[in-house]
């Protein structure tokens, strides 16, 4: 049911175009109104090989609403294949075609391998030179859910329409899945760091997003020994589908590992699942922890002897960062969680499990985490909470003014982001934990008391 979405922190399912955009040389073809791509894109970091303003789009008009837009969709796909050089074309449907009932699947099926080849040969092409252009579609009408769900739709579409089961498994090959590209400010850096960590314990990571990844990595998915999902809930259903269709088992690690405590735990758990020698893992952990604590030791004075970072904090973010950062600040830095706010409209079926995770903190600490999309209520709760000192608030841009009014310390870590430019920075892993500390104390040192 429609609800008051006050200071929204997510987009709609069609926002999944950014998931497609994160796959190098994959392009969305939008069957939607003319301005959806522009609205759903972020104004910086969007000008890659493809950018939202060049996504082919049927730009539905009043006539198409009345008479249907399948003809326009057909010509848009047909010409997109001619004009745009891509490895994967993903048709995404917006609100209009799904309400008026355009049969997108039917149109997409007219561009299957056989039809493409026939068209190529009819146009006088040399059969030996035919190159198939993979085309899939996903139902991403805005009213079907938010962009976290849209992201899942894309991975399901790849699984359902592109991937085939394989018995040829590569030893040690692991597909890594994490949170939603672009919605997650640190998506690129995080997934690279997760890859690096897995490589260090002798596994072979496979991911589909970002630089130098793409269709070849998608092709590798069925050959993996297992899927590793690092997310509280996003993509759980993708993992189940792949398990069923492709026979790939999965390990669900709900917490984005940030800092030494969680990352070491993460490596042990992944290693145990993959059957990696424990001593090997221990060695990797020790090396990292030694350096990590060398840094922490050097800056421990900063943590202890400043006048502005108080022990109590709140994170206002999606489940991934609310959980990951809460665990980091509690278990690594010894801070105390005040209330935590999960803003991604987590589906009901996952809420209990996510809430449980917030209770697994050192010294029996439990964080009170609430699922809330109405920022008016979130802000009221923050205002009314006694942080027993300056609050430390990690959230979206909406928390900036609020935190200033409470004389607190604020860091912009969740969408919408206006206070930070991130190319490939990350918070995942040992190094990521150090980066987050740097960011928090960069804020702290700008004031004296």
């Amino acid at each position: 049911m429609a609800k008051l979405l006050d200071k929204q922190r997510y987009k709609c399912a069609l926002g999944a175009m950014q998931t497609v955009q994160a796959i190098t040389r994959a392009i969305p073809i939008l069957h939607s109104g003319p301005g959806c791509a522009q609205k759903l894109s972020d104004s910086t970091g969007g000008s890659g090989y493809f950018s939202p303003n060049i996504f082919p789009c049927t730009s539905i008009n009043e006539k198409d609403v009345v008479f249907g837009g399948v003809k326009k969709l057909h010509s848009t796909i047909d010409n997109a294949l001619k004009v745009i050089d891509a490895d994967l074309y993903v048709v995404l449907t917006g609100c209009i075609p799904e309400i008026v009932g355009d049969d997108t699947q039917e149109v997409v099926s007219e561009f299957d391998r056989i039809s493409q080849q026939e068209r190529f040969e009819e146009a006088g092409g040399d059969p030996g030179k035919f190159v198939y252009k993979p085309l899939i579609y996903a139902s991403t009408a805005g009213f079907k859910g938010n962009n976290y769900k849209g992201h899942e739709q894309i991975i399901d579409a790849i699984t359902d329409q592109y991937l085939k089961r394989s018995d040829d498994r590569q030893k040690g090959l692991v597909n890594i899945w994490a949170d939603v590209p672009y919605q997650d400010l640190f998506w690129l850096g995080n997934i690279r760091e997760l890859e690096k960590l897995l490589s260090e314990i002798g596994l072979i990571p496979n991911t589909i997003f970002g630089y130098n990844r793409g269709i070849e990595n998608i092709d590798k998915i069925p050959h993996a020994e297992f899927n590793l999902l690092v997310s509280p809930w996003v993509s759980v259903r993708n993992m189940k589908k792949m398990e069923k269709k492709l026979g790939i088992p999965y390990l669900h690690y709900p917490t984005l590992p940030i800092g030494a405590y969680e990352t070491s735990k993460f490596l042990r758990e992944v290693g145990a699942f993959a059957g990696v020698d424990e001593q090997k893992i221990q060695k990797v952990i020790e090396e990292h922890e030694n350096y990590y604590y060398y840094l922490i030791e050097r800056y421990a004075d900063l943590f202890l002897e400043n006048r502005v970072i108080n022990k109590e904090f709140s994170v206002i973010a999606d489940a991934q960062y609310a959980l990951g950062i809460t665990k980091f600040l509690a278990n690594d830095l010894g801070l105390i969680p005040a209330k935590q706010f999960i803003t991604d409209d987590t589906p009901k079926e996952y809420q209990a499990a996510v809430r449980e995770e917030f209770k697994k903190l050192n010294y029996g600490l439990q964080a009170d985490a609430v699922f809330e999309t109405d920022s008016y209520r979130i802000h009221n709760e923050i205002r009314e909470h006694d942080y027993h000192g300056y609050p430390l608030i990690l959230g979206s841009y909406y928390e900036k003014e609020l935190t200033e009014s409470l004389k607190g310390n604020y860091l912009n870590i969740a969408w919408p982001v206006q206070d930070k430019v991130v190319f490939d920075d990350f918070y995942a892993g040992y190094t990521g934990g150090i980066r987050l500390i740097e960011d928090i104390y960069t804020v702290a040192v700008q004031r004296f008391n």
Binding site: I54, T76, A80
Partner: protein, 488 residues
């Protein structure tokens, strides 16, 4: 033009003033076809994404201080709210005021598309009013609510007494016009129908309505108008509802961009007799002087204005003449909204730069008063002609043109467009700030912006060398108009 402020719907630009988004030919042909009424826009069987009219409409309305925007639709439609929040905060801070405008969505879901959600909408309006006590409320539709026939007008009528502040239904279905500038008209219509009051009796005003985007030149314009005993009222960024309620009393209306301001200007003139200054705009020397003189005529201040022009010319003209020497002979392609394309073409001509192709994101055949746009008339009267096309930011067409013409320079005004030119190795100037070519001072700065862009081409050359463009060789061999189809 006949306006009906009692109806919340505004006719689209296509229907009202014959606007088009598809044409290829020349400036003179475009103009002569407009005048004899034979111009028919083309549609495309392949297009790339462009802009939603709701972004223009709600971008305007959400910049007004302390109002509420309630965007009834899925979360993707109201995603504009995140940017509006940021802009409102930073623009108010720059001005030294506060802006507590709220922009909320209704996160419409699948059930709502089947059963409707006007009841929820009603309670959301009441709750927003309770939470924030806004000075005015705009309730807006989306494609989804439009198609399923949500009657937002009735909801608005129903709560009007209860909320007790100006409230308007704003019809923003993205599919209804390919011309996003229709959104500007929609915003003006909402302000005119819900906030603007008839002039109070015996109020003599020295105010001049100045429709712009982000008021970056505000201090200098205030200073300039002070010399003419005029006080500009900048619209709508940082406007208050109180200010807006009295814009019908101003001595004149002017705007930085004809596309942005023509609906408001015309309605204020037609309904309240506020003269609308319809000259070419303030870009460049001729533009600035013509505009100032038009204001002088409309407000009876010609003498003061002539004095100002003379003083400023003495300061800036020698400097502009100096930099022109280095720009002479450059060839440029430009792509902008029609409110700027033909204005900036004139300035480039003034600076000695040849326009080889001009793209307008749309084209208004006639302005509301029935005339061909003044910027275009000026070019034709002065025998300036070039190849021209109308394309709603169709980047593949821009790239095809840049590839064929390899100009020295590409100028564009919209986000996401200049980056493609530089990937082609073409230096690009992003004419984003609407005051970038305003008057003598900024025309000089603009000339230097161009000069500096071509003096050091390292950035685009470094990048262009290393990137592959996403368009196929096939496309570069095609005619730019390959996908245009005769309108039926």
């Amino acid at each position: 033009m006949a306006v009906n402020l009692n109806n919340s719907n505004v006719a689209t630009r296509e229907n009202r003033i014959g606007s088009i988004t598809g044409y290829i030919g020349s400036l003179s042909d475009l103009a002569s076809q407009s005048e004899c009424g034979t111009l028919k826009g083309c549609s495309r069987c392949f297009s790339q994404s462009s802009t939603c009219l709701s972004s223009c409409a709600l971008g305007q309305l959400s910049a007004i201080r302390d109002v509420a925007i309630i965007h009834h639709g899925p979360a993707g439609c109201s995603v504009l709210s995140a940017n509006a929040y940021y802009l409102d905060k930073v623009m108010a801070k720059k001005r030294g005021v506060t802006n507590d405008t709220v922009y909320v969505g209704t996160d419409m879901n699948e059930n709502d598309t089947i059963f409707g959600s006007t009841e929820s909408l009603r309670s959301i309006i009441i709750e927003v009013n309770r939470r924030y006590s806004p000075k005015a409320i705009f309730v807006t539709s989306s494609c989804a609510t439009g198609i399923i026939g949500e009657d937002i007008d009735s909801v608005v009528d129903d709560v009007r007494d209860e909320v007790n502040v100006p409230i308007a239904a704003v019809h923003c279905e993205g599919f209804k016009s390919r011309i996003w500038a229709t959104g500007f008209d929609i915003a003006d219509h909402a302000v005119l129908s819900s906030i603007v009051q008839p002039p109070r009796e015996n109020v003599k005003s020295n105010k001049i309505n100045f429709k712009n985007f982000y008021e970056s030149a505000r201090p200098e314009i205030i200073e300039m108008f002070r010399q003419f005993d005029l006080e500009p009222v900048f619209l709508y960024c940082n406007s208050t509802v109180e200010e807006l309620s009295h814009i019908s009393e101003s001595a004149a209306t002017t705007c930085i961009c004809g596309t942005l301001g023509n609906y408001l200007g015309n309605v204020l003139e037609e309904k309240y007799g506020v003269p609308y200054v319809r000259s070419i705009n303030q870009c460049g020397i001729t533009g600035f002087e013509t505009w100032l003189r038009s204001i002088g005529m409309a407000t009876g201040r010609s003498e003061k204005i002539e004095k100002y022009i003379e003083e400023q010319r003495a300061v800036y003209m020698p400097q502009i003449e100096e930099v022109k020497k280095e720009l002479k002979g450059l060839r440029a392609v430009i792509g902008m909204g029609p409110g700027y394309t033909f204005e900036v073409s004139r300035v480039l001509n003034e600076l000695g730069i040849e326009v080889v192709w001009a793209l307008a994101w749309h084209y208004d055949k006639k302005y509301e008063n029935g005339d061909v746009p003044p910027s275009m008339k000026y070019l034709l009267d002065n025998d300036i002609d070039f190849e021209a096309s109308v394309a709603d930011q169709q980047n593949f067409e821009v790239m095809n043109i840049l590839h064929k013409y390899q100009p020295d320079l590409y100028l564009s005004r919209h986000p996401g467009s200049t980056v493609w030119a530089i990937k082609n190795g073409t230096p690009a100037v992003y004419v984003a700030d609407e005051y970038m070519i305003f008057g003598y001072k900024h025309t000089l700065e603009f000339a230097y912006a161009i000069l500096n862009s071509i003096r050091n081409r390292s950035f685009e050359q470094n990048l262009a060398k290393r990137v592959k463009l996403p368009y196929t060789d096939w496309w570069y061999k095609q005619d730019v108009g390959t996908f245009l189809e005769e309108a039926k």
